[in-house]
């Protein structure tokens, strides 16, 4: 149960009793904020896109959502809780392999998501325990070690009967349920969208709750937070677990959509991509994670179109420009625009009067 926000309390208190004919101040326009309109428009576009786009674009959009979800996981840990992680490719890989191993044992694809999430939560939580002793760059190194170890663990011979070793595990694309007039790519898109929306809502409500405030307090003023009675150790490890859960579910979805998992699919570079997406989208911004997903998928393709030979350099240049122009990420840019644009100022003036 979340405590009401301060301005909500102010509005709930009725206006001072005046003449009977004067109407009670109605919180008009509260629902149709710019933010909600943007979200609504986004959802409408997201729902209709697969009905008009080619299968390949649908496939790419599904991947954007998956990377966005993975970046959201990282955001919960780094953006909201201040714990740096270069190891999220490991959680993504664990989630992916969980899905692959279960599906090759004929488990239905939708059951693999909660399993991947649960396993990654446990792994994340367990990793979070020793991580309590580490701060900043030392935590970064520890998570880097996890990311580097993952491909080799996946190739480890004794584990081969389960992981398929270097050959990896191919997966079959799931068919839509009988009676649904969608092709497999469209179905996977909607399935991913549904999972994404549920998890976005979960993240948003987590962040707005008391737990969320505790998590952010630990990020902002760890000593003050502990002094106020917040159990920092518990919240930090729980956040690690939840963060790993989110990225693990993304990994499971990724495995289903790409239809293949192999040890070389989850290198350390993937962690770096997630970090890039996190920063570009906006650290500490939930919708920003999706912008990060768009960046991580499409900008390398864009760079390749400009020049195949220099695609890496061009990607670097684009990234530098983005960071320079939007130092707080896309979310920061939106906030800035909302604050500066004239009509936004008018709305705020009207609201405060």
């Amino acid at each position: 149960m979340s405590a009401p926000e301060p301005n909500e309390i102010a509005l709930e208190r009725p206006a001072v009793a005046g003449p009977a004919s004067a109407p009670v101040a109605k919180p008009e326009g509260r629902f149709w904020t710019g933010r909600n309109i943007a979200i609504g428009a986004g959802v409408i576009v997201a729902l209709t896109a697969p009905l008009v786009a080619h299968n390949f674009i649908i496939f790419q959009l599904t991947l954007v959502m998956i990377y966005g979800l993975a970046i959201l996981g990282l955001n919960l840990l780094t953006g909201f809780n201040g714990q740096f992680s270069l190891g999220h490719s490991a959680f993504y890989g664990i989630g992916a392999y969980t899905a692959a191993i279960l599906m090759s044992q004929n488990v239905d694809y939708y059951w693999t998501l909660p399993c991947a999430g649960a396993l990654c939560f446990v792994v994340g939580f367990l990793f979070g325990l020793p991580a309590l002793r580490l701060q900043g760059i030392y935590l970064a190194l520890a998570t880097f070690a996890l990311a580097t170890a993952m491909p080799q663990i996946l190739k480890f011979e004794p584990l081969e009967p389960w992981t398929g070793g270097v050959q990896g595990i191919p997966l079959l694309k799931p068919d839509p349920p009988p009676g649904v007039p969608l092709n497999p790519d469209q179905w996977l898109y909607y399935f991913t969208l549904a999972v994404l929306l549920i998890m976005l809502a979960g993240a948003a409500s987590l962040v707005k709750s008391r737990t969320g405030r505790a998590i952010m307090a630990i990020r902002d003023h760890p000593i003050a937070a502990v002094a106020m009675g917040i159990d920092a150790s518990l919240y930090k490890t729980l956040t690690f677990g939840v963060s790993a859960l989110y990225t693990g579910v993304a990994g499971a979805l990724g495995a289903i959509v790409i239809q293949f998992v192999g040890p070389d699919s989850f290198p350390f570079l993937l962690s770096v991509s997630f970090l890039v997406g996190l920063v570009v989208g906006g650290v500490g911004s939930i919708p920003g994670s999706l912008v990060g997903g768009v960046f991580v998928l499409f900008v390398p393709n864009l760079a390749e179109q400009v020049s195949t030979g220099l695609s890496g350099a061009i990607y670097g240049v684009i990234l530098l420009i983005v960071i320079f122009v939007m130092p707080s990420g896309a979310a920061g840019l939106v906030r800035l625009a909302a604050a500066r644009l004239p009509f936004a100022r008018k709305i705020r003036a009207a609201r405060s009067s």
């Binding site: 390949f56 190739k155 070793g165 270097v166 790409i258 293949f260 390749e304 695609s311």
Partner: protein, 407 residues
């Protein structure tokens, strides 16, 4: 003028029927990506990332197809070669190949590079029935026409090379202690299996099989361990960057084993020069392609043709890099397949003709090596020849060895 009588009509009938039949035989049958003037061919390769030294193969292929187009194309059709970067990352390969097949509508995908990357698209290509032709990797699993009828390799597979190395060792150093450097993935383990199987019950000659990852900065520690283990035979199956490091380190620590270098890493330009030519003396390797730095081919027509091609169409390409030789060879094989297809350019016929190559030679293959395929044999090249490096060039020796066709 002859009168048109009934008899003359009857006499002309067989000729007319014959004439009517000919257009039917030459009927145009087009798969996706084919028109009267163009054939779209797809490809993916590592233009960036840890394997980017192999990106030159795709660049040389693009250049070679420009030559083919300048000479009028294949049966009057120009080749539109669409190649994308996959950075040697399997998920990226899936994305790029889906783009090629679903958005660009290519007829086939030619020589995608890498074992993990090809593994990722293997099922997709066979499910969609798109030819995955002449994959640029020697993994043995590509020649499985029974289960994967749309996938075909090209180069001798790694296991048969491993067998050849094992045979060479048993012949020349039957009491040796073998150390093996291999890449910790499909490709490296294929070599390891080939050597181990080839040694049979002498497999315990292997005292140390040391893996490396493509993300490792060096393999120095592996080489030091090999010397420490007392190995006097070294099978070096690293890709150029790591093969070079291994050669250099072995020379540095004064370890002089019988050094067998695998064909993937035996390029003078990509491996031996960075390693130091004097350090590479007496190294033995296997070849199926002419090494462009070998003076014995200086006046060979095939070599001269290749140099002329590089000078005109890919002047920035390194003429000492074997990758730039193998690319045009893939192209020439594909051109032969398309020529054999004639106007029946469907995906089915492409696979049928690819499995129908007999005694086909391309100019840069060693003189006694041929390409042969059949519906039960999807391994185009099975023969190799050994060579020794004398400090300046590779000297071929011995007979052509017939690698076993995979089971």
């Amino acid at each position: 003028m002859k009168q048109i009588t009934r008899r003359s009509i009857l006499a002309a009938a067989p000729a007319t029927l014959a004439l009517a039949a000919i257009p039917a035989r030459a009927a145009k049958n087009y798969g996706p990506g084919v028109t009267d003037t163009e054939i779209k061919i797809g490809n993916t390769g590592p233009y960036s990332g840890p394997a980017s030294s192999y990106g030159t193969i795709a660049k040389s292929e693009a250049a070679y197809f420009r030559l083919v187009n300048d000479q009028g194309g294949v049966n009057g059709r120009k080749i539109n070669f669409i190649s994308y970067d996959d950075a040697y990352s399997p998920p990226k390969t899936v994305e790029q190949v889906r783009k090629l097949v679903e958005e660009d509508n290519v007829l086939l995908v030619m020589s995608p590079l890498g074992t993990p990357t090809n593994s990722a698209i293997w099922h997709y290509m066979n499910q969609k029935k798109v030819p995955q032709l002449f994959v640029a990797t020697g993994a043995t699993k590509w020649n499985d026409q029974k289960h994967y009828p749309w996938t075909m390799g090209w180069q001798p597979n790694y296991q048969s090379e491993g067998h050849a190395y094992a045979a060479y060792i048993l012949q020349n150093k039957p009491d040796g202690k073998i150390a093996l450097l291999y890449q910790n993935d499909d490709f490296g383990k294929d070599y390891l299996k080939g050597v181990t199987d080839g040694l049979g019950d002498k497999a315990k000659m292997i005292v140390l099989a040391a893996p490396y990852e493509t993300t490792d900065p060096t393999v120095d520690s592996q080489i030091i361990s090999m010397k420490a283990a007392g190995a006097d035979v070294f099978v070096n199956t690293g890709i150029p960057k790591f093969a070079a490091q291994a050669i250099r380190k072995a020379a540095e620590i004064e370890w002089k084993p019988l050094h067998i270098l695998a064909s993937v890493g035996n390029s003078v330009g990509a491996t031996l020069k960075p390693a130091g030519l004097q350090n590479a003396k007496d190294i033995v390797s296997d070849f199926y392609i002419k090494d462009p730095t070998d003076p014995q081919w200086q006046n060979d027509p095939g070599y001269l043709q290749w140099v002329a091609f590089m000078d005109k169409y890919y002047p920035a390409g390194d003429k000492t890099d074997g990758g730039n030789v193998v690319g045009p060879c893939f192209c020439q094989t594909l051109v032969q397949v398309m020529k054999q297809c004639g106007d029946d350019l469907t995906r089915e016929n492409i696979m049928k003709q690819a499995a129908n190559l007999h005694h086909f030679r391309v100019p840069m293959l060693l003189p006694s090596i041929e390409i042969n395929t059949s519906p039960t044999d999807f391994a185009p090249i099975k023969q190799i020849q050994m060579a020794r490096f004398d400090g300046q060039r590779w000297q071929l020796f011995g007979p052509v060895i017939n690698g076993q066709a995979p089971a």
